[in-house]
């Protein structure tokens, strides 16, 4: 027997999907428009704005920077996040409660404040080069994802198997690598992907940390828009969206998306 849905509820659901998806449809439409300004619905269809992206050196350069920052930042955040998540779960009883909240702060603090704070502390305060600042800043921004997502898979991890390994003669670090890590693999991959996507799409932190000669793709999109209001912006956005969708598709195919929401 099919469940009957109240017509109002149905209409409401359709509205929600409409508001979620409509802007994306508009962007895709605008990217295909054969005009020199952004418009929707598209007037004529062309792919020349996509081709145009690759002719603009700044987009190529910043896309590479974005990828480098995302990969290094995510790696760094996992390097800190995995041991932190491990400790927070393993010693849950012994550690004070606020400690786990501490690792979520970067997403609780308004991003613009966080970005400014990073500018003051690491770029100006420590005088780090722009690229390093970006990597460190992104690593801190996405640290909550590493800690929370890896933590979620550690929450259901049975720590007695760690004791079993040690009783069988396996030293602590080796136990972590051979017994703990393989069993939280899914969580680590999920954390990597979430963190990666967050990093590659970030504007508010990057806007403070980018500097002369070094920028990320989203920041370059903003800069480009200030000068040219042409559909190139829309087509870059579509590409960025496709990268995200592609990553999610890989997750879905290999692990199933459900484990991101678990």
């Amino acid at each position: 027997m099919a469940t009957r849905i109240h017509p109002l509820l149905g209409a409401f659901a359709i509205l929600v999907f409409f508001f979620l998806l409509a802007p994306l449809v508009i962007i895709v439409g605008a990217a295909l428009s054969d005009t020199t300004f952004l418009t929707f619905p598209p007037q004529g269809l062309t792919l020349r704005w996509f081709a145009n992206i690759f002719q603009i050196e700044a987009f190529r350069r910043t896309a590479i920077t974005s990828l480098q920052v995302a990969i290094l930042g995510t790696g760094l955040s996992l390097l800190i996040g995995i041991p932190a998540a491990y400790a927070l779960n393993r010693y849950r009883v012994e550690l004070p409660r606020w400690l786990s909240t501490l690792f979520v702060l970067p997403i609780l603090v308004p991003e613009i404040v966080f970005g400014f704070a990073l500018l003051k502390s690491i770029t100006i305060g420590l005088g780090l080069p722009v690229f390093i600042s970006l990597v460190v800043g992104h690593a801190l921004l996405i640290l909550p994802y590493s800690v929370r997502v890896v933590g979620a898979s550690l929450a259901s991890f049975d720590f007695s198997i760690e004791e079993a390994a040690r009783s069988l003669g396996c030293p602590p670090l080796k136990t972590f690598m051979t017994v703990v890590l393989p069993n939280i693999r899914a969580g680590v991959i999920a954390a990597f992907i979430l963190a990666f996507i967050t990093s590659i799409n970030d504007v508010s932190v990057s806007v403070f940390l980018t500097g002369p000669g070094i920028s990320t793709l989203p920041i370059q999109i903003l800069a480009h828009m200030e000068q040219f209001f042409d559909p190139t912006i829309a087509s870059v956005s579509v590409l960025l969206m496709l990268v995200t969708v592609g990553v999610m598709a890989i997750v879905e195919a290999t692990l199933g998306l459900t484990f991101l929401t678990k």
Binding site: S160, E163, A164, L168, P172
Partner: protein, 352 residues
């Protein structure tokens, strides 16, 4: 190469709470000793201290001539069997069993050969390629047992290994554990809260309470001659009657319980009796008679036990449970006397 385990004056704290108080115990080579007690008595803490997962505040742990006290867990060479099996979920049954051999640097063919031989002994060779998730509880515990035994440890420890299994399997598994332990002659420490399990599997049992060992004896002695009121209650003595001596005439002692109930007890039969004592016995330790010397009682509900009738009796000294013969059933409300049978009674010190 069987060795003995010696624990000397071990104390442990969680924060400021002392959970183990100056505990000493020694397990002879090849012997299986159980730590028995309710939860929070310190039995698991003792096992975790010996395993090296906890550090004692004072005391020593020795295995043969090795001092384990400060060794890290992975250097202690102890086989452990956990309550929740603790198998490695990402490894096959064979790799689980071979894990300890791998840590000892054995070559891959050697590991596989020895792990397989061990799996055959526990009857799981056909499941060698399965993952633990595809096993039943009993099979998992067999794998855990094989994994602990295959490294041929000088000491085996069991932490409530049968608690997660159903009743029938529990009995099969404890026979199996006992056989394997005997065949290998491995010194073993076994933690459980199940009295029947402890008594059936052990050479000796240590009854623990509040971080101390109250009595360490063979199951027979514990069952028949508990040394304190706590142990008596623990092993199922229903009746603990507090009494005071009022008169001594050579070996015969006249004693009085609450409510003025008097008994004459012979020290030749009951053993030495102090002025203030507890007369402890099971329901079988009191004969229900229509008349004669004994504790006057009004019988309550009669329960058929198969080998006897059991009565809940009202006496001046409180409620007493006693078993009467099948040949002479008595009805509720009948008057009778309850005569203590010396060979089934214990004279214990009163509790403070």
């Amino acid at each position: 190469m069987t060795v003995s385990l010696t624990i000397e004056n071990l104390s442990a704290h969680y924060g400021t709470t002392q959970v183990l108080k100056d505990l000493s115990i020694s397990v002879a080579a090849g012997e299986l000793v159980s730590l028995l007690g309710s939860s929070g008595c310190g039995k698991t803490t003792t096992l975790r201290l010996v395993a090296g997962f906890l550090q004692p505040t004072s005391g020593r742990i020795r295995l043969g001539d090795r001092d384990l006290t400060t060794l890290p867990a992975h250097a202690r060479d102890i086989g452990l069997v956990f309550q929740n099996y603790a198998l490695f979920p990402h490894l096959t049954v064979l790799d689980n069993v071979a894990f300890g051999l791998k840590q000892r640097g054995l070559s891959k063919p050697d590991r596989a050969k020895r792990a397989m031989a061990m799996l055959e002994r526990v009857g799981l060779a056909p499941l060698a390629d399965r993952l633990p998730a595809a096993l039943s509880g009993g099979q998992k515990q067999r794998v855990a047992l094989a994994r602990a035994l295959v490294i041929e440890p000088p000491l085996l420890m069991f932490d409530e290994p049968l608690s997660n299994l159903d009743a029938k399997l529990r009995i099969d598994m404890r026979v199996e554990i006992r056989q394997l332990q005997r065949a290998n002659g491995t010194t073993s420490l076994y933690v459980t809260h199940d009295q029947e399990e402890a008594f059936s599997i052990s050479d000796r049992v240590a009854i623990m309470n509040a971080g101390r060992i109250l009595q360490l004896d063979t199951p027979e002695v514990l069952y028949q001659k508990p040394a304190s009121a706590f142990v008596a209650r623990f092993v199922g003595f229903e009746n603990l009657i507090r009494m005071k001596v009022i008169e001594r005439q050579s070996a015969i002692v006249a004693a009085e319980a609450a409510g003025g109930t008097r008994l004459h007890l012979s020290q030749d039969l009951f053993g030495p009796i102090k002025d203030d004592f507890i007369l402890a016995c099971r329901a079988d330790g009191l004969a229900v008679r229509r008349e004669g010397e004994g504790i006057p009682a009004v019988l309550g509900t009669r329960t058929y036990l198969g080998r006897a009738y059991q009565y809940k009796c009202e006496t001046a000294a409180g409620e007493i449970t006693a078993n009467g013969p099948l040949s002479d059933p008595l009805d509720a409300g009948a008057r009778a006397v309850l005569a203590p049978l010396p060979e089934q009674c214990c004279i214990l010190d009163p509790e403070d």
